[in-house]
């Protein structure tokens, strides 16, 4: 039996998180959904649980204490080049941030849509792609 992989949501805004998680739950995925609220929690999770079974990480940039970008920088510095898919999902559209994220090796940069329809569509697409294609090895 295949190990159910994990989809990480790193997002501090409660309502945004709820919207994202509820949309993801509607997709036929076997993945476990994990919600982390700050960059620090994200780092700690990787340190403690490892990243071998992460199918996708949705990463917000603007978070209290440790931001998404700062977390990415720290992950980069850590010796283990653990490759796991990271899609930045943020309201931010600043060029220098987009550039820096790609330099740090993310897979995609997605701006959070404002309307319900667009938001749902984006999350569903992301979830379907990474959750089913990116299957965890046995």
């Amino acid at each position: 039996m295949k190990n159910p992989g994990k989809i990480l949501l790193v997002e501090d805004d409660e309502l945004d998180a709820e919207m994202t998680l509820s949309t993801l739950r509607k997709i036929p995925l076997t993945s476990e959904l994990v919600w982390l609220e700050t960059g620090q929690e994200f780092i700690d999770y990787i340190d403690n649980q490892g990243s071998g079974d992460i199918q996708l990480t949705l990463l917000d940039l603007k978070m209290p204490m440790l931001s998404g970008l700062e977390a990415l920088e720290i992950l980069r510095k850590k010796a283990k080049q653990e490759l796991f898919p990271i899609v930045v999902l943020t309201s931010s559209q600043e060029d220098h941030e987009i550039k820096r994220c790609y330099e740090l090796g993310i897979n995609a940069f997605v701006t959070k849509p404002v309307t319900k329809e667009a938001f749902n569509e984006t999350i569903t697409t992301l979830g379907l792609f990474w959750g089913t294609i990116n299957v965890v090895a046995e």
Partner: protein
């Protein structure tokens, strides 16, 4: 540079020669009886030559014979072998620096041919000679044609020191002038008693006056050029010169040639005596323009923010309004989830409203013109206390307020500081069992320090550097709400007062915020 390194043999032989020549000069009888007086005069003359570093000679144009003083020989550092009538002229000429030879030679030729020379004139020429022992020397040669005797009298003087000083002076002069031009500045030494002034070139440039024209009355000139609205200020500044030794900086406009005005800043500085003062004038038109543009930009920015936030609030109001109406009309008809969703809508509108307000407030306070005064800290706290009393209604917070001091600060801005720090303390102790907030002030001669200490949730010290940044928060919205602008505003206000603010904390133990504001010495106030 060569002076120290000549073989002592050369120096010795030259010295011996000079000594002998001097003795000869002093005692030379030429067959006549020499009186003691004559010897005395010759000795004096000889000593004089040595001290003043001069030398002379007389040329008989008809016989071509040359009579030279010992000083001349020493000046040119001639050797014994050069001292014959036929060799001497060439020996001397050969020491002249090639670049200076032409001028000297053409004068010499004129003298030899007695051309264009009149008795009443002394001709002067300056040139360099190259000597064995002393290197390059600057010589000033003054010559006079004596008509009756048909002889040419020439006196030479070593002006090397003078030339060096002159070069240094010229360099300094150049430095000063180019400095003034670059800085668009001029300097003046003004005597308010006599009205006399010494002006640098820079002044002429600023006033757009031909530097060849001598300005005899600076005050009269300025009176005519200064903008009518600035005349009173300028007059009072001039009038106060004899009555004070304080430095002063002020500005006025000066009319330009094209009838427009330029801004000039005056820095009145050092006093040379009770009436005489040194001042600089600087063209600051560019600076004023930049400042003006900046002010304009700030105003436009504020206007923009005001408009945008105003427009942003409208739909927000609608959402909030209708959501609340909806909640009222559907009361008891909604499921738990549905009611929860509606509540979240309403809560979000409040949050956005607060963000817009705080953002607007932050930008407005940037432009607030500070009006500091002596105020009682306790009064400021009392004023703002009521503003968050609704949050503390159902809670029993232990307040310790010990702020007996008076502080020199802007009342409104200080109010914002306390409002922010205190409402933060109230907020972060909302989950604490026995909340306590302590506000203490401390006064020292130079500054007042205030501390706001609470025993609430505190913050993670690792992220201390983000504490005062705009939109940076150290807590999750779920735990404690907030926009992340409050402390940034406080930081800005304290900085504008010239003070500092910092904080310490231990998670779940509490947080302490400290700020200092420098105070003017009370002596200055009591006058």
């Amino acid at each position: 540079m060569n002076k120290d390194f000549q073989p002592s043999e050369a120096i010795n032989s030259k010295n011996l020669l000079y000594q002998r020549l001097t003795e000869q000069f002093i005692t030379d009888t030429q067959g006549f009886e020499v009186s003691n007086e004559s010897i005395l005069f010759r000795s004096l003359f000889s000593e004089g030559e040595k001290m003043a570093k001069t030398g002379s000679y007389i040329l008989d144009v008809n016989t071509n014979s040359l009579q030279v003083s010992p000083g001349f020989v020493m000046l040119y550092e001639l050797d014994e072998k050069d001292l014959t009538s036929d060799r001497l002229p060439m020996a001397a000429m050969s020491k002249v620096h090639p670049e200076d030879l032409h001028e000297l030679a053409s004068l010499s030729v004129k003298e030899l041919l007695k051309k264009e020379l009149s008795s009443s004139e002394t001709h002067t020429v300056e040139y360099r000679i190259q000597t064995e022992l002393s290197g390059v020397k600057w010589i000033r040669r003054s010559s006079k044609w004596m008509e009756e005797e048909e002889k040419l009298l020439v006196t030479l003087m070593d002006i090397t020191d003078f030339k060096e000083a002159e070069t240094k002076h010229q360099e300094k002069q150049l430095l000063l002038e180019s400095g003034e031009t670059t800085a668009m500045m001029g300097s003046v030494i003004y005597n308010s008693k006599t009205g006399h002034s010494i002006l640098s070139n820079g002044i002429y440039e600023i006033l757009e006056i031909d530097p060849d024209i001598e300005i005899t009355d600076l005050v009269e000139l300025l009176k005519e050029k200064i903008h009518p609205e600035d005349l009173d200020l300028w007059r009072s500044k001039i009038a106060e010169i004899p009555r004070t030794t304080e430095k002063s900086t002020y500005q006025y406009r000066i009319r330009k040639a094209d009838e427009s005005y330029k801004w000039v800043r005056v820095n009145r500085g050092v006093y040379l005596d009770k009436f005489t003062v040194i001042a600089t004038l600087q063209d600051i038109t560019e600076e004023v323009e930049v400042r003006h543009t900046l002010q304009q930009t700030n105003q436009e920015l504020e206007q923009l923010i005001y408009t945008v936030s105003h427009d942003l609030r409208a739909p927000l109001r609608h959402i909030n309004n209708y959501a609340q109406i909806l909640r009222e009309s559907t009361r008891d008809k909604l499921s738990e989830d549905e009611a929860d969703q509606l509540a979240k809508i309403i809560k979000s509108t409040y949050r956005q409203g607060t963000m817009i307000d705080e953002l607007l407030d932050y930008f407005r306070s940037r432009n607030h013109i500070m009006a500091p005064d002596w105020i009682k800290i306790s009064d400021v706290i009392d004023e703002i206390f009521d503003l968050f009393s609704h949050e503390t209604k159902e809670r029993s917070i232990k307040w310790y307020i010990d702020t007996p001091h008076v502080i020199y600060a802007d009342n409104k801005m200080l109010g914002k500081v306390f409002l922010n720090l205190l409402s933060n303390a109230v907020k972060f102790t909302s989950k604490t069992e026995s909340p306590m907030i302590k506000v203490v002030s401390k006064s020292s001669p130079r500054e007042v320090m205030v501390s706001v200490v609470d025993n609430g949730a505190g913050f993670d010290s690792r992220f201390k550097n983000k504490l005062f940044s705009v939109f940076q928060r150290l807590h999750k919205q779920r735990d404690f709400e907030g926009t992340g602008i409050g402390l940034a505003s406080v930081h800005r206000i304290i900085t504008r007062h010239g003070g500092s603010i910092w904080a310490e904390s231990e998670l779940d133990k509490g947080a302490s915020f400290f700020f200092t504001i420098p105070q003017p010495l009370t002596n200055e106030k009591s006058g």
